[in-house]
């Protein structure tokens, strides 16, 4: 086993271990009823934001493209998931919640994936920051499109229209224009959230460490060199981008079905930037970093509730401090020294740079 391989193995094991241990601890806290209501209520959103951050990291950190519309894919997933779940329940009377949830998540992923392909095909052929601009516009388009979309179940059929008057009287509204998805039956569970996080980690880590992943990273590091080696640039960029879109759609479906209502204005540009902050703070290309930063930054504003109106101010200061500290060479070398024994345990001789950026 080469050193690079060994480091990668350690890194992946640690990533999975962190997630699984966190799940076991939280699950036992729920069983013992020692968990606070505030934390329990945040568990599913945390899972969603972890998946969002890890998938965006695939686009930004691994393939080196800037995407500013990740919340748009989440939005597509959320509304598709809500429609699928509502349709199965109201038109087909499917009572099995777990099955409905799984189908909704899969459906949300597929819908977001299609949106990803539609955007990716023209844009990823270009060089430069076009993806950033197009994804930014995509997020806004989706939001305004949902604002005028009416989807309802009438007599067991799905009715779709851009005008409310076309929806027959007495139909069960699923997506009600600017009201968004309404009267969703909440079926998301923490266990499903955990499974989705694991699924995301397996997909992303395997992709990163595969032949395709190496090609994607080669394109990021030097596009011309990679092209001259015969790597099809558009194909591999599409692979990363669409995978990220599918995962974001899945997270969106889970997120949407966790609330009784979802509004298009929840998935704005600000939300995309929020996910971008998770990724940057966790470290570009660092999957475990994304998991941790998504968790902490979701919980942080809630923990800071004691500061009342000043909490977002404190939040900003904390962000800046974390940025400074994680980039401080003294603190980094100290952290590496802490990690060194763990690496030795796996048989490593030296502790290089640490962080083991896969």
């Amino acid at each position: 086993m080469t050193r690079a391989k060994r480091n990668r193995l350690i890194y992946n094991c640690v990533t999975f271990a962190v997630v699984i241990i966190a799940f076991i601890v939280l699950q036992s806290m729920i069983e013992n009823k020692t968990i606070t209501r505030a934390l329990k209520g945040q568990l599913i959103p945390i899972c969603c934001w972890i998946v969002m951050a890890v998938s965006l990291n695939l686009v930004i950190g691994i393939s080196g493209e800037l995407s500013l519309g990740h919340a748009g894919f989440m939005s597509v997933g959320a509304f598709t998931g809500a429609v699928i779940s509502g349709w199965l329940l109201n038109a087909h009377g499917m009572e099995n919640e777990t099955l409905r949830l799984v189908l909704a998540i899969v459906g949300g992923g597929i819908a977001a994936g299609i949106a990803g392909v539609v955007i990716g095909i023209p844009v990823l052929r270009l060089r430069g920051d076009y993806l950033a601009i197009v994804t930014l516009a995509f997020g806004e388009i989706i939001r305004n499109l949902v604002n005028v979309t009416y989807i309802a179940v009438a007599d067991g059929h799905l009715v779709f229209s851009f005008l409310k008057k076309n929806v027959p009287e007495g139909a069960r509204m699923l997506v009600d224009g600017a009201s968004g998805a309404v009267k969703i039956s909440k079926i998301s569970t923490f266990t499903m959230g955990f499974i989705l996080v694991l699924f995301t980690l397996i997909v992303v880590l395997n992709l990163i460490n595969s032949r395709s992943g190496r090609a994607i990273k080669a394109i990021r590091d030097n596009r011309i060199a990679a092209e001259s080696m015969g790597v099809p640039v558009t194909k591999y960029k599409m692979m990363a981008f669409v995978t990220a879109a599918v995962l974001a759609g899945m997270a969106g479906a889970l997120y949407g079905l966790n609330s009784s209502t979802v509004v298009p204005s929840q998935f704005t540009f600000n939300q995309s930037i929020n996910v971008l902050v998770f990724v940057v703070l966790g470290g570009l290309g660092n999957v475990l970093g994304s998991v941790i930063s998504a968790t902490l930054l979701t919980v942080l504003p809630e923990v800071l509730r004691a500061f009342a109106d000043y909490r977002m101010l404190v939040y900003a200061v904390v962000l800046i401090l974390v940025m400074i500290f994680t980039n401080n060479p003294t603190i980094r070398s100290f952290a590496d020294r802490l990690i060194a024994p763990v690496k030795k345990l796996f048989g490593g001789k030296h502790s290089d740079k640490g962080g083991a950026q896969a």
């Binding site: 329990k40 209520g41 600017a178 309404v182 209502t261 509004v263 929840q266 509730r305 109106d309």
Partner: protein
């Protein structure tokens, strides 16, 4: 009722003391001698401290009770100080019992959580409801009988944060929720609260989905509104315009990306057709619109003499500016979202002269209760209260009136309070500063709407 409970508690306490006394006698007979050790002194001191604190807390009433008991009480403690830990615990239990029973005698403690956006884009509304609630709580606490502990949680006008805020409030021990201020967050929170059985009164979340249940035609039984639902505002506006013959040709400008605006517009247009008010045209805009020339020009070209604006005050202020520039002077008629137009910074309030709005609350009213509320509000926050503040003020009084009617006592869980309050709400009539309110089982309020007109930079009740 109250007196009876007081006497009962005293009786209970006396009997407990008696049992103690007997036990002590029994033990001394068994050969245990009274001793004055170090531990004894410490305990005596502790009891004394507790006593004084208790007295401070409960005031005069407490000290009277205390005098009647103190002899026996100290006697008990004196003899028990030397016995085992177990007995000491039993002692503490009696103390605790004594403390809680005394508190119950004085007043009913209830924790109410206000949830609304105190930061973010809708902060003006959230702060108004918070301030209104604070004034009501102050008044009620000063009057005695009820002691309200007001918890405030910020929802940032965001669905996800709203549920977090609700959970944080419940962790902090809230029994009843006053909230949310805005519709969408309220829909999300009420869906959780109806399952967890927590009683909610919203001051200003006006969409119908707030009170509707998951299935068609069902309603959340725990959810009550202080404000009109959106469709009712549309109905009332059309009726008011026709009744007072404000105009013949109406024009509607509304936000088609906003549930609130669409809801009011739909019923307004339907009712106008029914009453024979001609709607000569409609124009739409969305959240990002900053130039209203097209919309205003369309209204002007259609020759409308009344322009109905079921929108919030920020776009309304821009519409007024465009209309003034074009020298177009119809009657502008708004709904509760228009409230607040006079407090926009940098807005020339002379432009709003003659604007009418449908609102249940007018700060310049001559009504005694309204006057006193406005005075207190101005003294505390340095501004004239808007309708949202008045709604929240009435919300707190409604909760308290319901608690009174249901006989809510100290230490009930949120679920018990909820089950107790639900049946009394439809029987309740609350005479508040936004009108005399009654509710049906669906949770929708019925009260008389009023129209206010802006004259010389203040809202006055429409004289017609």
């Amino acid at each position: 009722m109250f007196q009876m409970k007081f006497v009962k508690d005293v009786m209970k306490f006396v009997s407990v003391c008696d049992i103690f006394k007997k036990k002590i006698m029994h033990e001394t007979q068994n050969g245990q001698e009274k001793r004055d050790g170090k531990a004894g002194n410490a305990l005596k001191k502790a009891v004394f401290c507790k006593k004084t604190r208790r007295e401070q807390k409960c005031g005069r009433k407490m000290s009277i009770i205390h005098f009647t008991f103190s002899k026996e009480f100290e006697y008990c403690i004196f003899h028990w100080e030397e016995s085992s830990m177990k007995k000491f615990l039993a002692m503490a239990l009696v103390l605790a019992l004594c403390l809680t029973s005394v508190a119950a005698m004085a007043e009913v403690n209830i924790s109410i959580a206000h949830i609304g956006p105190t930061t973010g884009p809708a902060a003006l509304y959230g702060l108004a409801t918070l301030h209104g609630a604070e004034i009501a709580v102050e008044e009620i606490n000063a009057a005695g009988e009820f002691k309200i502990n007001l918890i405030n949680e910020d929802d940032e006008h965001n669905v996800e944060k709203a549920v977090n805020a609700y959970n944080a409030a419940m962790d902090a021990g809230a029994q009843v929720i006053l909230g949310n201020t805005t519709s969408k967050p309220c829909e999300a929170v009420s869906a959780v609260a109806v399952e967890e059985r927590v009683f909610m009164v919203t001051p200003s979340a006006s969409s119908e989905a707030v009170i509707q249940g998951l299935e068609a035609g069902t309603y959340k039984d725990n959810m009550f509104q202080i404000c009109f639902t959106d469709p009712n505002q549309g109905l009332a506006s059309a009726e008011y315009i026709v009744e007072h013959e404000l105009g013949k040709k109406a024009f509607v400008i509304y936000n088609n990306a906003d549930v609130y605006s669409i809801g009011i517009r739909d019923t307004f247009v339907a009712k106008a057709a029914e009453l024979g008010l001609e709607v000569v045209g409609e124009e739409v805009f969305n959240d990002e619109t900053t130039d209203f020339t097209v919309q205003v020009a369309a209204a002007q070209n259609a020759g409308a003499d009344i322009v109905f604006l079921p929108i919030y005050y920020t776009p309304a202020s821009l519409i007024l500016q465009v209309a003034a520039a074009r020298e177009y002077k119809p009657i502008f008629f708004g709904v509760d979202g228009m409230d607040g137009i006079l407090s926009i910074e940098g807005f020339d309030t002379s432009l709003a002269e003659g604007v009418m709005l449908l609102t249940p609350f007018v700060a310049t009213s001559e009504d005694e209760k309204v006057k006193s509320f406005v005075e207190k509000y101005q003294a505390a926050y340095g501004e004239t209260p808007i309708q949202f503040a008045a709604d929240a003020y009435d919300g707190i009084y409604t909760i308290v009136a319901a608690c009174k009617a249901a006989g809510v006592t100290d230490g009930m869980s949120a679920e018990e309070v909820c089950e107790a309050l639900i049946p009394v709400m439809p029987t309740l009539t609350v005479d508040g500063i936004t009108g005399t309110m009654t509710w049906d089982a669906t949770g929708a309020v019925s009260k008389t709407p009023m129209a206010a007109v802006i004259e010389n930079g203040v809202y006055v009740i429409d004289a017609e």
